[in-house]
Symmetry: C2
Subunit: 490 residues, 2 copies
């Protein structure tokens, strides 16, 4: 695959001059079409042999296009703060909005290339990481981020010559860094790693393009052409992505809960006794030394008036207000709409040692957005896998993910709606939307049932709780949380 | 001021029960009025004697109110990443939106109290910091953030008794931390520091409330009442804030530039030679060791078609794309509208070692927002001071702030508009707005003139450049930047 690049092809000054002007006009015009259309974001991942002139080329393109709509980010080795979150978070948070171009140096591929360049590779870990990257890219592309990946390549001799030339002139020597010098020594292993990873991660929807880099003019032209092509072609389609190696989900959570279970109640006295004791255990668990290396994400879902807010308050009561965040989830903002839908939740993933509470969540995509037809069928079908991946990443970072569905029967819901309407203390809690949603109860029930079938994973199982009796439901929520925390600290 | 608190008043259980229910209903109702009205944010700063039960009280209030609209944040000692920016940045970025409540532990007051508690105080530094906090609060209140400050206080004996009682029970001992124990020893100096700072920073628009804290019930009631009162009263007015100790601005920058100067031009050959040499110096300066401890903020203002974009590209060409960010400034988003207008710029203040380029800027408030009457007269008049403070904070953090006004004459602007309309390569650059703005040229000129009178400070002076000749203007911009960087590294 590096054949062409390793003969170090060149473009003469006169050929370059002939192409340049036209290429620049095309590029700026296509960029503006992209800015005005706002139908997708373009993400350009940069990799390749150190010292091949990646930075130089990107700087030139920033100059050819409108740099106000290009965001170039580099991800150096993660620092302590980065490591307090799942590794992909910092990458997600920097995703460009629709109409923008993001250029990324040192993406999630950096550790991949490093691992593949090792003498003794951990093949299993490598394969797992490759699958992860493939899934992530499929997710991005399907959600409006077009991805192209550029590998800057040249022969060993050309790399050496280029480095020496830069070093020989004091006004260019700063362009050479330690990595470039190291690259000479390790050329063969870097080359092999590149080949392996490129082959494993090349896809029609997120292709690799090899850029011959020995000659600056050809390098520039090829890079510009690759970007131009990406901007010109229609947003790529992602084939339905099924990965047989993924952990299969558990059997669907039992929903709706049986009438027998809905009859479970707790007297005020029992409730008071149990809840205080559970809150005390919760208070100790989140303040323990062990929890400093963990995190807790709590998802509350359920129909309107199912008692989510009340349950959340029984949880937060036991936790220091400085240690938790509650995210009430409603309709996305314009900035959120212009990125993949998980983007806004990545900003609220809990840091190590903290508790994040979601009052409604990313499951909105397969509940309200599905039922209200706010997104295409393909979008919400795909979301099951995307959500499982998202939660898995939290779990792998030592986050305990607990998902609660508070289940009320339609009769009980109606009773609560009426109560709210008549209570001066609660009437702010009921809106016209609530009555409208109630009329769609059947569609919501179907959506919930499917959600339980596809997202009840080993890593993050659903807890479907009978919630006709508020006391019972609140105690069960606390029991689940306390058990999970205490188990994890054993 | 601590007299009442130090007799450690109590509320009996029966009195508390009488008040509690009513207080809670009032509090949740007022919170919802606040949420629905969205006319301001409420910021509650928490301070006081360690071990007075601050955390406990705030947790209880989170429980009494709707915690989904309360954001409690603690600011521990700044880490390396925090220190790469002006100190107030992390605080600004966490400001609550209108309709929300923010509770802040360890705000900008923490260093103030610490400094005031020292045996040998640096009175000048202390006074300067006090003035800074007062100005910051005036800024927040004037821009839609209501501020109240709670000082939790109790007598030395009560503090000791409370700490011992908590320590004696394993299920409450975790509530006591090292600071609480230290507070016993240093009680007198903490008390004195509190008194000094409270007296110096109490203001009608951001009042301190002393909360007697020996008795948990009275402490809770007083805290709830303070918040209730804040929610109930109309948003406070900030008196025109004039601080005679502030650095006076330089004389106004000369605007518009004289016809003689507008006649300055550079031939293509001169331009090419100079610009390359300047870009090379810029490239070296931003890659130097010295720059790792500095930062650069570039502001570009000027009429439509003044050549801001072109000048910016001549600058970015010399800088590695990974080292700069360009922020094109247009109308604020809803999230931005619901915070003080400087909030969105705080998110783009350059980190140490980086370059932030603003294509239009915070000066929008005193230009377009003034001319188009998007804000009240009081708002933009106040903004001059707020902007000077903002820039000063960057400068104090070793950031070089350079502000460029590219000045074109109306005739030249018209010529460029026509060119744009007819060029296939540039027509995306011209919109109906541009023609409309042109008709308001007089009002914009008045606004610009006043801006130069009030914001031409020693720390961040304006560079008003003749820009009828693009070559000349671009070279001047680069000269300014290179000179500032090279001077700073001497």
């Amino acid at each position: 695959m590096f054949q062409e690049a390793e003969i170090d092809p060149k473009l003469s000054q006169s050929e370059f001059k002939k192409i340049e002007a036209h290429l620049r006009v095309q590029l700026i015009n296509e960029q503006y079409r992209h800015i005005n259309l706002k139908d997708r974001a373009l993400l350009i991942l940069i990799a390749g042999i150190d010292g091949a002139g990646k930075g130089e080329t990107i700087n030139l393109l920033n100059d050819w296009m409108d740099p106000r709509h290009i965001h170039t980010v580099a991800f150096p080795d993660p620092n302590d703060e980065d490591r307090a979150y799942p590794p992909a978070r910092r990458f997600w948070l920097k995703l460009p909005a629709k109409g923008e171009i993001g250029i990324v140096f040192g993406s999630g591929y950096t550790p991949l290339f490093k691992a593949a360049a090792r003498k003794h590779q951990d093949i299993d870990a490598l394969e797992q990481n490759i699958r992860f990257v493939r899934r992530l890219e499929a997710n991005l592309v399907a959600n409006g981020v077009q991805v192209i990946k550029l590998w800057f390549h040249l022969s060993r001799e050309a790399q050496r010559a280029r480095t020496e030339q830069l070093l020989s002139n004091p006004s260019t020597a700063w362009q050479v860094n330690k990595l470039d010098l190291k690259a000479q020594k390790k050329f063969e292993s870097i080359r092999r790693a590149g080949q392996l990873i490129i082959e494993a991660t090349d896809a029609a929807y997120s292709p690799w393009v090899i850029i011959p880099s020995a000659d600056p003019q050809l390098r520039t032209v090829r890079t510009a052409q690759a970007i131009l092509q990406a901007l010109k072609t229609a947003a790529p389609k992602v084939p339905k992505f099924h990965d047989p190696a993924r952990q299969s989900p558990l059997p669907p959570a039992a929903y709706p809960v049986a009438q027998l279970q809905q009859a479970l109640t707790l007297s005020k006295a029992e409730y008071d006794a149990q809840i205080l004791q559970l809150q005390n255990r919760l208070a100790l668990a989140v303040r323990s030394k062990g929890f400093k290396k963990q995190a807790l994400a709590l998802v509350f879902e359920g129909a309107d008036a199912a008692g989510k807010g009340g349950a959340i308050r029984r949880v937060t009561r036991a936790i220091d207000a400085r240690q938790f965040d509650v995210m009430p989830v409603s309709a996305p903002t314009p900035a959120e709409m212009s990125r993949p839908y998980l983007w806004r939740f990545w900003g609220h993933v809990p840091r190590r040692g903290r508790v994040a509470i979601f009052d409604r969540s990313w499951y909105g995509r397969v509940l309200v957005e599905r039922v209200e037809k706010l997104v295409s069928r393909a979008s919400w079908v795909r979301a099951y896998d995307e959500i499982n991946d998202f939660e898995k990443q939290m779990v792998e970072q030592n986050t305990i993910v607990l998902k609660f569905w508070l289940d009320v029967t339609p009769d009980e819901q109606l009773k609560r709606f009426k109560e709210r309407t008549h209570s001066p203390f609660k009437q702010f809690k009921i809106t016209d939307d609530d009555w409208r949603n109630r009329r769609k109860a059947k569609a919501y029930a179907t959506a919930a049932k499917e959600m339980f079938a596809y997202t009840n994973t080993l890593e993050a199982p659903w807890h479907v709780l009978p919630a006709n009796d508020k006391h019972y439901a609140r105690v069960e929520v606390l029991k689940c949380i306390v058990k999970a925390l205490e188990d994890a600290q054993r």
